[in-house]
Symmetry: C2
Subunit: 87 residues, 2 copies
């Protein structure tokens, strides 16, 4: 499984950078894409807070990318970790 494909647009930088955490949420349903976007957005902050509990995260090193296509809302969170990130 090629994890670089998760963030296709950032494959080049991802292949160069070391020590990253990538989180991807994908919500598939036949429902209202706005509702999906709200759900994903509400999960985003809480998940970032969870990550910050475990890892020293520099907010400047967090990239977010949301994509809505068809029945799927996708949120990508790409975190560049400092050395000794584990708390």
């Amino acid at each position: 499984m090629n994890i670089m494909s998760f963030f296709g647009k950032r494959s080049d930088s991802a292949s160069v950078a070391k020590n990253r955490l990538k989180i991807l949420l994908a919500h598939e349903r036949g429902g209202n894409s706005n509702t999906d976007a709200k759900l994903i957005s509400s999960l985003r902050e809480d998940i970032l807070a969870v990550v910050a509990k475990h890892i020293n995260v520099d907010p400047d090193c967090v990239r977010l990318e949301m994509d809505r296509s068809g029945d799927t809302t996708t949120l990508g969170i790409d975190i560049e970790l400092p050395d000794g990130e584990a708390k």
Copy 2:
């Protein structure tokens, strides 16, 4: 971006099922893969708790898949959502 590729082994079932939330964590580093696995495992429980705050999740409808290859530890969380899952 084809989200089915995130969970290659479950592409068939994922393409049939509706109303799913997929969460994927990928940790890349040149470090100790055991340390990576511990970090991912510790994030898993907290992220599942966060999801449960926003969505009515049936534990029987949660699938976890952890993969360690090279310098990357990957955790896939695949949640089949009930109707009216939003809290």
